[in-house]
C-alpha cells in the first residue's frame, strides 16, 4: 500500500495527475473552531421553488423602480423586511428551453445542447463555484438540501439537487429535514484512534477499487475513458472528503442549536424546519454554502390545495381555483421566507453583528409561471454580498441571470470573472 502522504499528493486519474492539498494546509483549520474568526465569514444560500410564481401578483409594478414601490400581494408577508430585500426583474437563462425544469439550469445558466454528441449537458452551478473557496475551512464545503420523498411534481427538472459539480454532473443532496439534521449534527462518539483506523480502511477500499479501475482502463477508447473518469472523479471526491475528515478528527461536532426534527414532516412544516436547519448550519459554521430545492407538490397538499402542481402553474387557462391556489402558494412561500429572514436578523455573530449581515440569499426559480422562462423570479436578500437592498430593480430585458450570480460571487469575495453565460456583473445591483 502507498504511504498516505504519497497517495494523497497524487491520485492518478485516467487523464491527469490530480494534486490534492498538501498536509500543511490540512492543519490550520484544526484550531479555528475554538476561536471564532475576527470577522464573521460570508455565506451564500439559494432557495429554489420549482414551478415559479403567480406573475400578476408577485412582481412589483415595473414603472415603480427603486425603493418607493408598492409591495405586491404575493410579497405582502415580507412587508416587515421590505427595506432588506431586492426584487430583480428582467433576468433569464437564455439557453433554457425546458418548461418543466425550474432548477436544473437555474444556478448554472448552461446550454443543454452545448456539447455536440450529447443530448444533455450541464455545467457547474454557482453554489459549487462558491464552495470551492468558501468551503475550505468548514466541515462541509457545501450542503445540498432537497424536499423529502418524491419530488416529481415539484417542477424542478432533472438533477439530484440544485448543485452541479465542476464537470456538470449532478451533486446528490440530503432529502428531507431528518437526513439533513443527521448529516450536520450526528455525533461521532468513536475514539480518535479508531476513527483513524477507519479512515485508513476506507482509503484501502479506495486503493483496491482504483487498482481495478486502472486495470480496466487499459485499452479503453477516448469516450469510454471519459466515462470511467467519472468513477475516478467520484473516488477523488471521497479522497478529498476523507482528507477533510482527517483534518476534522478530534474536532467535536457542534451542538445542534435545535432539536431533532420529527420524521414525516411534509410541505409547509418541512420547509419551516429545513429553514431552521439552514440557520443552524450557518450559525455553527458547519458550512457556508447551501442550496435547497424546496418541495412544491407537498407544500400544496399541506396547505389544503387539491389542484395538481403542474395544472396550477397553468392557471391562465381557467383562472379561478387554480390561480387562487397559485397565489396561496406564493403567500405561504413568502411567509416562510419572512420567517427565515427574521431568524437571520436575530441570530448574533461573535462580533455583535447578525447572520443576516454576512449572508447573501437568493430565492427564485428558472420558471416564471406556466412554461415561461423569461423574467425569472429573483429575490435577493442579506448583507453578505454588499448589494442594494430595498429596491425594485428593473434591469434591461433578457439580462443573463448569471450576471446576478456573478455579482453575488464577487460580493462574497469569490474571485470569478464569469459564470455560465454571464456578460458582466449587475452594476446597478451593487450598493
Amino acid at each position: 500500500m502507498n504511504t498516505p502522504l504519497k497517495r494523497r499528493q497524487f491520485l492518478r486519474s485516467s487523464t491527469a495527475l490530480i494534486a490534492l492539498p498538501s498536509l500543511e494546509s490540512f492543519g490550520f483549520r484544526k484550531f479555528a473552531s475554538a476561536a471564532a474568526p475576527a470577522t464573521p465569514p460570508k455565506r451564500l444560500v439559494f432557495l429554489g421553488f420549482g414551478w415559479g410564481i403567480t406573475t400578476e401578483s408577485w412582481y412589483p409594478d415595473i414603472t415603480q423602480k427603486g425603493t418607493g414601490y408598492t409591495l405586491p400581494a404575493g410579497l405582502q408577508p415580507l412587508a416587515r423586511h421590505k427595506a432588506d430585500f431586492t426584487i430583480v426583474q428582467g433576468l433569464w437563462n437564455k439557453y433554457s428551453n425546458q418548461g418543466h425544469a425550474g432548477s436544473t439550469f437555474w444556478l448554472t445558466g448552461a446550454n443543454r445542447y452545448a456539447q455536440p454528441g450529447q443530448n444533455f449537458h450541464n455545467s457547474i452551478s454557482v453554489d459549487q463555484v462558491a464552495a470551492a473557496q468558501l468551503g475550505r475551512e468548514t466541515r462541509f464545503a457545501s450542503i445540498q438540501l432537497n424536499g423529502e420523498g418524491n419530488m416529481e411534481g415539484s417542477g424542478h427538472g432533472p438533477g439530484l439537487s440544485m448543485a452541479w459539480d465542476v464537470s456538470g454532473k449532478p451533486v446528490a443532496g440530503q432529502n428531507g429535514p431528518l437526513a439533513a439534521y443527521h448529516r450536520l449534527f450526528s455525533k461521532d462518539t468513536t475514539p480518535i484512534e479508531q476513527q483513524k483506523a477507519m479512515l485508513a480502511q476506507k482509503r484501502s477500499v479506495l486503493d483496491t477499487v482504483l487498482e481495478n479501475a486502472r486495470a480496466m482502463q487499459r485499452g479503453l477508447g477516448k469516450t469510454d475513458n471519459a466515462k470511467l473518469d467519472e468513477y475516478f472523479q467520484g473516488i477523488r471526491d471521497i479522497e478529498t472528503r476523507l482528507s477533510k475528515d482527517e483534518q476534522w478528527i478530534g474536532v467535536p461536532q457542534p451542538n445542534a442549536p435545535m432539536s431533532e426534527p420529527k420524521p414525516g414532516l411534509a410541505g409547509r412544516e418541512e420547509i419551516k424546519i429545513m429553514y431552521d436547519i439552514i440557520l443552524a448550519a450557518l450559525q455553527t459554521d458547519s458550512t457556508r454554502v447551501l442550496t435547497y430545492r424546496q418541495p412544491v407538490s407537498t407544500l400544496l397538499t399541506s396547505i389544503g390545495i387539491k389542484v395538481a402542481p403542474h395544472d396550477m402553474s397553468h392557471y391562465h387557462s381557467t383562472m379561478g381555483e387554480k390561480q387562487e391556489a397559485s397565489q396561496k402558494r406564493d403567500l405561504t412561500q413568502s411567509e416562510l421566507l419572512a420567517g427565515l429572514i427574521d431568524k437571520l436578523k436575530t441570530t448574533k455573530e461573535a462580533d455583535g453583528t447578525t447572520l443576516f449581515d454576512h449572508t447573501a440569499l437568493a430565492y427564485g426559480s428558472n420558471i416564471r409561471t406556466e412554461h415561461n422562462l423569461d423574467n425569472c423570479p429573483t429575490l435577493l436578500t442579506g448583507g453578505g454580498a454588499g448589494i442594494k437592498l430595498g429596491h425594485n430593480l428593473v434591469v434591461s430585458k433578457d439580462t443573463p441571470l448569471c450576471n446576478a450570480w456573478l455579482t453575488l460571487l464577487n460580493g462574497v469575495g469569490v474571485d470569478a470573472e464569469r459564470h455560465g453565460d454571464s456578460t458582466g456583473v449587475l452594476k446597478e445591483l451593487i450598493a
Binding site: 443530448n119 485508513a200 483496491t208 469510454d224 466515462k227 387539491k306 387557462s317 383562472m319 412554461h371
Partner: protein
C-alpha cells in the same frame, strides 16, 4: 438452422452499410418562408437597421452549427412569445405564420438531433438501477431494494444510454452498502436454507370479534341511554330552568347540550356509566347513543358458516376497534428471510357477482396497503378453493407493518372515501349496507425450504465456510474464493492478481481489527461489488474505430438486452468456445433468452420507457368519480400493456396487432372491467373480441387512456400527442417556452372541443395543435379511466373546488374529425383504421426505440439502413415482434463496439 440466409457475420456487413455512410443531410429551413421573413422581419433586422444587433437577412437556412441553431431558436422563441413582429407592426397572415412556426420547430428538432448525434459511438456504461438489482439477484439470489440509488432518468432517452448514466462519490458509497446488504441477505438465505415454518389461522376468530363487538355496542347504547335519561331529568328540574336557558342557547344540538352536563345540578357524570375519556366524557356516551354501523354488524351475524369462518367486507369503524375490512397474518419476527407461500381457503356466496369475486393480497394494510396481487375467487360455499400466493421475505422487512400480510375484497378499502361511498351505496339500496360476498375459512403461511435448489452462482463460487463456527479459511483458500467470486461478478473476466492482493490485505486488516470471518469476508466481497469491472459493461477498444465484439462481450450485450441481467453459464460457455458467433446458434440463444422468464426484465423496462408509462403514476385518481378503477384494476390495466407485448413476443405476433386487433390479452379482473364474458383465472390470456368492440390494440387499453388524462378528466391534447409520438412516429416538437396563454375562455363552461378549438385562433398554438387535437377528439369516447362513453359533461367549481351543479353542461361526444392534411374519420373505429394503416411509421418508431434501448445510444442518421433492414426482415413475417429483435441482434451494429 432456422435463419440461415438472413444472418451474416459482422465483417460481411461492413460493406453493406458503407453505401449509406455519407453524412446526414443537414437541417434546412424551407426556402418558402424566406418571403415571409423578408417582408415582416428584415425591415428592422436587415443591413440597415440591425435592431438588437440581430440580422435576419444574413441567417443561413442551413443549420449545421450551434450558433446558427441558437439564432434560429431565438427567432422561434420571439415569434412564439408574440414579441415579434412588434404589436404595432404589420403581422403575417395566420396560416403563413402557423406553417412557419411548424416548420421551424421541426427544423430545430432535426438540428438538435443532428448536433447531438453520437455518430454511432456507444459510450461505455455502468449498470443502471434495474440491471444492478437484477445482477445482484442472479449472482447472489438476493432480492434487495435499490430505490435509494439515483433514478436513471436519461433526458429524452432510455435508461441504458451510457452517456446519461453518471457516477459520483456518493453513489460509490451506496454501491458499497447495497452490495453489503445483498451479501447479508444471501448469507442469511444460505444459512436458513433448510428451515421449515408454518402458521395456520382460522378465520372464525373474526366472526367471534364481530359477535363480541355487537354486544359491546348494544350494551354501551343502553348505558348511554340511561345516562341521557338522567341528564334530561336533571335538566327538566324547575330550579335548573335559568341555567338550562343559557345552555340551550349555546348548544346547537342535543349532543352539544349533553356535553355541558357538569353545569346542570343533579346531572350524573358519564363515568358512572362506563364512559371514560381524557377530554369530555360525554363524547363517548354521545357516540354510543347512535352506533351508526350496529345494524350492519348485526346484519353480518345473520350470515351462515360463522362458526367455521368469516366474511370480508368494507371497514366500518376504526380497525383498532373492529377489523372486518381485511384479515391479517403477521409473519413472526424470528422467521428467517427466504421463500414463503401464503394459502387462503375461500368461497364466494350468492352475492359474489362478477364484480365482487376478487381477492386482493398485500402487505401493511393500515399504511396505504399496496396491492401485490389480485385473485379470482371461483370456490363456492359448498366447495371452497385454496388460493396459493408466493411471497419472498427479506432482511429489510423488520417493521411490524412490513411483516403484516393482508387479504381483502378487491376495491373494498382502497381509500376511506371510496369505502364510505360503497357503504353508503349499499345502505341506500337496502337500508343496511353492502351484502357480504367472500367467505374465508382460514389463512396460512409456510416457509419453503430451498435446500434442494441450486446455490446462487456467486455463493457457489466461494466454496469456503461462510459462518464463524467453522475454522476460517487459509490464505490460499481465501485467495481462490475471491478469484472465483470476482470471475463470476465480472461476468467471466478474470481479476488482476494485484487487485486480489489488495482484497486479501483488506480482509487481513479487518480480521486484525477484531472482525469475525463472515463480517470481514462480506466487507471484502462488497468491494468487488463496487469495483468498476462489476459496475461497468466495458468493451475495450484501443481507438475510436468500430471493432467487432468478442464472444464474451456479445454474450453480455445480448443478455443485458433481453434479460437486463448477466449472461448465464450456457451463454458464457457458448461464447467461450466460439459457438455463439455462429448465426444459427445466436438466433437459437436469442429465442432461448426470450422464452426464459428473465425476459420480463426486457419487456417491462422497454415497454415502460418506449410507451412512456411513467405517466400512469403521475397523478392521483379520483376514485369517487371513477369508483370501478380501483387499485387492482389499475394494476391489471398496467399489466395488460406488458402482457400484450409479451404475448406478441412469445407467439410471433405482429406489431400490427398493437395498433388494431380482434383480440385482447387480459385476466379476469380486466375482463370484468371491460365487460368481456367467459374469462377465468388470474393469468393473462388471449380472448377473442366480439365484432366492433373498441378494445384490441393499444388504443383500446384502459392504461393508455388513463395516461391521456389527469385521473379525473380526459386530455385530448395529451392523447393526440401520445399517438403522434408513440404510434405514428411523428412527434410534435417539445412544448415551446413563453407562448402567451389563451385567457379568453377562463372560467367559461364549454365542451372540450369548444375549448380546444381556441387553439386554432393563434398561429403559435395552431402550428402544433392542428395535428394533435383531431386525434384527441377521435378518442373522446374513452373516459379518463378508459371506459366507453357517449356523453361528457363539465361543471365549473368554485374557489374551494366545490362543484357548481347549476353550471353543469352535458353534451354528446362527437368524435368525427379530420387529420391535419389527411383523411377524415367519423368515429373512433375510423380513426383506429387510419392509424392502423400507418403501421410502417409505427414499425419505424419501434425499431428506433429497440436500437436505442439495445445499444444504449441515440439513433442517428447512420442507423437508417439498420432500421430499414429491421423493418424489411420483420415485414417478411408480417411484422412479427420477435423478428425485429432477431434482425437487430444479427446486425453489424449489434456486433460492433
Amino acid at each position: 438452422m432456422r435463419f440461415p440466409f438472413r444472418l451474416f457475420l459482422p465483417a460481411a456487413l461492413l460493406c453493406v452499410s458503407s453505401v449509406h455512410s455519407e453524412k446526414e443531410p443537414p437541417a434546412v429551413m424551407n426556402e418558402k418562408h424566406r418571403a415571409v421573413l423578408q417582408t415582416y422581419c428584415v425591415g428592422c433586422h436587415g443591413a440597415e437597421k440591425q435592431k438588437g444587433k440581430f440580422r435576419m437577412d444574413e441567417l443561413s437556412y442551413t443549420l449545421t452549427d450551434l450558433e446558427t441553431a441558437e439564432r434560429w431558436q431565438k427567432v422561434l422563441n420571439q415569434i412564439n412569445s408574440g414579441e415579434m413582429p412588434p404589436e404595432d407592426e404589420k403581422q403575417p397572415p395566420g396560416d403563413a405564420k402557423a406553417d412557419l412556426l411548424d416548420d421551424l420547430a421541426n427544423v430545430m428538432v432535426v438540428a438538435r438531433r443532428h448536433l447531438g448525434d453520437q455518430q454511432g459511438v456507444i459510450t461505455m456504461r455502468r449498470l443502471n438501477q434495474r440491471e444492478y438489482k437484477n445482477t445482484l439477484r442472479e449472482l447472489l439470489d438476493a432480492d434487495i431494494n435499490v430505490s435509494e440509488l439515483p433514478g436513471d432518468v436519461s433526458p429524452g432517452g432510455f435508461d441504458t444510454a451510457g452517456a446519461g448514466l453518471f457516477m459520483s462519490g456518493n453513489q460509490f458509497e451506496q454501491y458499497q452498502s447495497l452490495g453489503r446488504e445483498a451479501l447479508d441477505e444471501a448469507f442469511e438465505r444460505q444459512a436458513a436454507a433448510g428451515v421449515e415454518k408454518k402458521f395456520h389461522w382460522e378465520a372464525e376468530e373474526t366472526s367471534a370479534n364481530v359477535r363480541k363487538y355487537v354486544q359491546v355496542e348494544i350494551d354501551a347504547r343502553e348505558r348511554a341511554q340511561q345516562w341521557q335519561k338522567l341528564v334530561e331529568a336533571a335538566a327538566a328540574q324547575p330550579e335548573n330552568s335559568a341555567i338550562m336557558t343559557q345552555i340551550r342557547k349555546e348548544s346547537k344540538n342535543d349532543a352539544i347540550f349533553r356535553r355541558s352536563w357538569a353545569k346542570i345540578p343533579g346531572a350524573p357524570a358519564p363515568e358512572g356509566f362506563g364512559f371514560k375519556t381524557e377530554e369530555n366524557n360525554a363524547d363517548k356516551a354521545n357516540a354510543a347513543l347512535t352506533p351508526t354501523y350496529l345494524p350492519y354488524h348485526q346484519y353480518y351475524l345473520t350470515y351462515p358458516a360463522l362458526d367455521t369462518g368469516a366474511y370480508l367486507t368494507m371497514q366500518t369503524v376504526h380497525p383498532s376497534v373492529l377489523q372486518i375490512g381485511w384479515m391479517t397474518l403477521l409473519v413472526p419476527f424470528n422467521w428467517p428471510v427466504g421463500d414463503y407461500v401464503v394459502r387462503v381457503r375461500i368461497a364466494g356466496n350468492e352475492h359474489a357477482t362478477p364484480e365482487r369475486r376478487f381477492l386482493e393480497f398485500g402487505i401493511d394494510p393500515r399504511n396505504n396497503g399496496q396491492v401485490l396481487s389480485t385473485h379470482e375467487v371461483t370456490g363456492t360455499m359448498d366447495a371452497p378453493q385454496i388460493i396459493e400466493i408466493p411471497l419472498t421475505m427479506t432482511r429489510k422487512q423488520t417493521d411490524r407493518g412490513d411483516r403484516m400480510l393482508f387479504i381483502r375484497e378487491k376495491g373494498s378499502n382502497d381509500t376511506n372515501e371510496l369505502t364510505y361511498a360503497r357503504l353508503n351505496e349499499g345502505k341506500k339500496r337496502n337500508g343496511i349496507g353492502p351484502e357480504l360476498a367472500l367467505w374465508v375459512d382460514w389463512m396460512e403461511i409456510e416457509r419453503v425450504p430451498t435446500a434442494a435448489k441450486p446455490v446462487a452462482p456467486g455463493i457457489h463460487a466461494l466454496r469456503i465456510a461462510l459462518d464463524d463456527k467453522s475454522p476460517a479459511p487459509t490464505t490460499p483458500e481465501l485467495r481462490g474464493a475471491l478469484e472465483r467470486f470476482a470471475l463470476e461478478a465480472f461476468r467471466g473476466t478474470p481479476a488482476p492478481s494485484s487487485y486480489i492482493d489488495r482484497l486479501l490485505a483488506f480482509y487481513e486488516v479487518r480480521r486484525k481489527a477484531g472482525d469475525k470471518h463472515s463480517a470481514a469476508l462480506k466487507d471484502t466481497l462488497a468491494i468487488i461489488l463496487s469495483s468498476p469491472m462489476f459496475l461497468y459493461l466495458a468493451e475495450p477498444a484501443t481507438d475510436e474505430q468500430h471493432r467487432a465484439l468478442t464472444g464474451a462481450e456479445l454474450a453480455t450485450r445480448l443478455s443485458y438486452f433481453l434479460w437486463s441481467a448477466p449472461p448465464d453459464d450456457m451463454l458464457r460457455n457458448l461464447a467461450k468456445n466460439g459457438e455463439l458467433m455462429k448465426p444459427a446458434v445466436l438466433a437459437a440463444q436469442t429465442n432461448r433468452l426470450l422464452d426464459d422468464a428473465r425476459s420480463q426484465g426486457f419487456v417491462r423496462a422497454f415497454v415502460y420507457q418506449w410507451l412512456g408509462l411513467d405517466r400512469l403514476d403521475f397523478f392521483q385518481l379520483n376514485l369517487v368519480l371513477h369508483p370501478r378503477f380501483d387499485g387492482s384494476t389499475k394494476l391489471a390495466a398496467k399489466n395488460e400493456v406488458y402482457e400484450t407485448f409479451n404475448y406478441e413476443l412469445r407467439h410471433n405476433g405482429s406489431l400490427r396487432d398493437l395498433l388494431k386487433a380482434d383480440y385482447v390479452v387480459i385476466n379476469s379482473v380486466l375482463a370484468n372491467y371491460y365487460g368481456i364474458p367467459g374469462v377465468k383465472g388470474d393469468a393473462f390470456q388471449k380472448v377473442v373480441l366480439p365484432k366492433n368492440s373498441p378494445r384490441g390494440g393499444l388504443l383500446g387499453m384502459a392504461a393508455v387512456h388513463l395516461m391521456g388524462g389527469n385521473g379525473e378528466r380526459t386530455s385530448p391534447v395529451e392523447r393526440g400527442a401520445w399517438v403522434l409520438r408513440k404510434l405514428l412516429n411523428d412527434p410534435p416538437p417539445p412544448a415551446p417556452a413563453n407562448v402567451p396563454a389563451i385567457t379568453r375562455l377562463a372560467g367559461k363552461v364549454l365542451t372540450s372541443r369548444e375549448r380546444l378549438l381556441a387553439h386554432q385562433e393563434e398561429p403559435q398554438c395552431a402550428s402544433c395543435h392542428r395535428k394533435i387535437d383531431p386525434i384527441g377528439f377521435g378518442l373522446e369516447n374513452f373516459d379518463a379511466v378508459g371506459e366507453w362513453r357517449t356523453e361528457d359533461s363539465y361543471e365549473a367549481t368554485d374557489a374551494n373546488g366545490k362543484p357548481q351543479p347549476k353550471t353543469k353542461k352535458t353534451w354528446t361526444i362527437e368524435p368525427a374529425a379530420t387529420m391535419h392534411k389527411g383523411p377524415a374519420f367519423k368515429d373512433y373505429l375510423g380513426l383506429r383504421d387510419i392509424i392502423a394503416a400507418r403501421s410502417d411509421a409505427f414499425a419505424k418508431g419501434f425499431s428506433n426505440a429497440l436500437v436505442e434501448y439495445a445499444l444504449g445510444r441515440p439513433c442517428g442518421f447512420k442507423d437508417e439502413p439498420l432500421i430499414e433492414n429491421m423493418r424489411h426482415e420483420a415485414g417478411k413475417k408480417d411484422l412479427s415482434v420477435r423478428e425485429f429483435i432477431h434482425a437487430l441482434v444479427s446486425s453489424k451494429e449489434f456486433h460492433t463496439k
